[in-house]
Amino acid sequence: MSEARRLLRLLTSNALSLFGLLTTIIFVVLAVLEMVTLGAITPFNPYTTNFGAANLAPSFLHLFGTDFEGRDIFSQVIAALPVDIGISLAVVAVSVALGIVLGTLAGYLRGAFDEIIMRLTDMFLAFPQIVMSLAIAATLGPSLLNVTLSLIVVWWPAYVRLVRGAVLAVAAEDYVAVSKSLNSSFFYIVRKDALPNVLPSVLVYATTDIGAAMLTLSTLGYLNVGIPATLPELGKMVSSVTYSFFLYPTQVLIPALVVMLMVAGFSFLGEGLREALDVKLRPHILIRGRVLGKLEDPRMKGNPGQSPGPAG
């Protein structure tokens, strides 16, 4: 069984990771469709107000109902997907790139460069995430680029630390010393020895983190900071109707639940990936009652939860 197929089987065997995989795929496909067709897949124009049809409950015509200005909530949700998913992906992608470059350099070069980078990340990590991006976004003013930037500023330090830690661990290995003694260049060692060891854990972390970025982004939207008035965003939809939530709870709950579903999708997927890639746990993973992979200890077969006991 190839590694990719084994991974897929592990992911689909567990209800939680399967849910994560499916939710993620569905929402990403919807967002891409919405972008490619330039909004043709929404049943109504998400911006057209119709005061005659305001505050409608969900029905077959308006799947999620309408808001206080008679706009179709389902169409608004679909229109907001590319914004929410796109910004979160961009934030995490840029942070991963920054993390790999700065983290590898810091972990490999050590010395003054390492010291400067680490103290910088210390400074940035001292701020509560939402508070910091809130302050930046509020200062820069509302625009797509500014809100992305404000999130990146908060997001990159974690990745630098993650990559640096992993590179430090790899650099201490004997095979890197051997590679060095064979006169390998810095880039060769990074490409052949460091990155393959570092990337899986970074990608797993990043998968879960897309959800976290989305949470913070929608919170900024909810606070009406950073996201321009013309742009649809799920958190912003919630805040625009917050004051009527005792009267029309669906208007608040539906966009918020969509955020929750997406974030849960990404974090279930990330959690599933982490367990699937963890070699230490492999002997204990059960698929339909059978243990996957080779067992070191035959006494634990089929009963991984029990210790073999002192008699063994």
């Binding site: 909810y222 917050t242 746990l281």
Partner: protein
């Protein structure tokens, strides 16, 4: 320092921003003069650090009171909420993570994992609105807002309402305070704690099959003893760091949760500062939050050394 860069360097025209978009030119000039915004950056930096060290954040342009006195009023309320949430996080997070790890691969494990992943994925605004809707509107067992101090006479000692009531043995006040505290604190805690049971669970999984645990079992130690001394204690070391990082999320969460629960704390104070573009107040709030996170990390370092005798502070270890 970063706060200074954000508030003074990044923005093209801070005086305009601080005075508001509709301000008249003379108002902008007055604001610029009052907050030294026309001076060279280095001079501004000097004034900024001076105000930091003396705690003099200036005067709130909306209420006319000093920002320091407002922070001293709202701060303890937020501290009350955050500390109460912390208790819930430690008890629920460590407990759930432990149970989940010890029942690895069973239905209990999946259930607990689903629960903490779902609460972690819930945006603060959704969680807070749902808990208000459910527990004070549909099933009215808890009040929907406030910290319970309205209409009750007490003398503030620490500013933390529940603590003051306790110190004065003012039982009706204590009852009202706790009654108002339960819902927002639990909501804030459950929405922020996701990572605690998660790390707890994975470090339980790391330790429970490790050689030192096997050795302890082989020596014939009782199962309860092994769990307490060898599994739980090891797992708690990793968890402590993570508990400290959740402080960041808790402070972030207060901005939303306090607003929805009408809790008179720094979170609501900064939310109002944001929506009314009250920058002097926002800068002070960001600073207060940051100091809170730094103090929390410091306390975590101390707990660390108690739990893990191999780590010592200040010896380069």
């Amino acid at each position: 320092m970063i706060v200074f860069i954000i508030s003074h360097v990044l923005s093209p025209n801070p005086a305009l921003l601080w005075a508001g978009p509709k301000a008249r030119p003379e108002t902008i000039q007055a604001v610029a003069a009052e907050y030294h915004l026309n001076d060279p950056l280095l001079t501004q930096l000097y004034y900024y650090f001076q105000s930091l060290l003396t705690g003099n954040f200036g005067v709130d342009p909306q209420t006319g009171r000093t920002i320091l006195s407002e922070v001293m009023f709202y701060g303890p309320n937020t501290l009350e909420l955050v500390l109460a949430s912390m208790v819930v996080i430690i008890v629920a997070g460590v407990g759930l993570g432990y149970v989940s790890g010890m029942h690895y691969g069973t239905k209990i494990d999946s259930g607990i994992r689903a629960f903490y992943l779902v609460t972690w994925s819930t945006p603060y605004y959704l969680g807070a609105i749902v808990s208000v809707l459910v527990f004070s509107s549909y099933i009215p067992i808890f009040p929907s807002g406030g910290n319970g101090s309205v209409g009750i006479t007490y003398t503030p000692i620490t500013g933390i309402f529940v603590l003051d009531a306790l110190l004065e043995a003012n039982w009706p006040a204590l009852q009202s305070g706790l009654y108002h505290l339960v819902l927002p604190a639990t909501t804030l805690a459950l929405l922020s704690f996701g990572i605690v049971p998660r790390i707890m669970r994975s470090s339980i999984l790391d330790t429970r099959w490790s050689t030192h645990v096997k050795a302890a079992q082989a020596r014939g130690l009782e199962e309860g003893e092994v769990r307490r001394r060898h599994i739980l204690r090891n797992a708690l070391i990793d968890t402590t760091t993570v508990v400290a990082t959740t402080f960041g999320w808790l402070f972030s969460g207060t901005i939303i949760v306090e607003q929805i629960f009408a809790w008179p704390g720094i979170g609501q104070f900064s939310y109002n500062a944001i929506i009314s573009a009250n920058y002097p107040v926002l800068v002070a709030c960001v600073l207060v939050f940051t100091v809170g996170v730094i103090v929390a990390n410091f306390i975590a370092d101390i707990i660390y050394t108690v739990l893990d005798p191999r780590i010592s502070l200040g010896e380069g270890g």
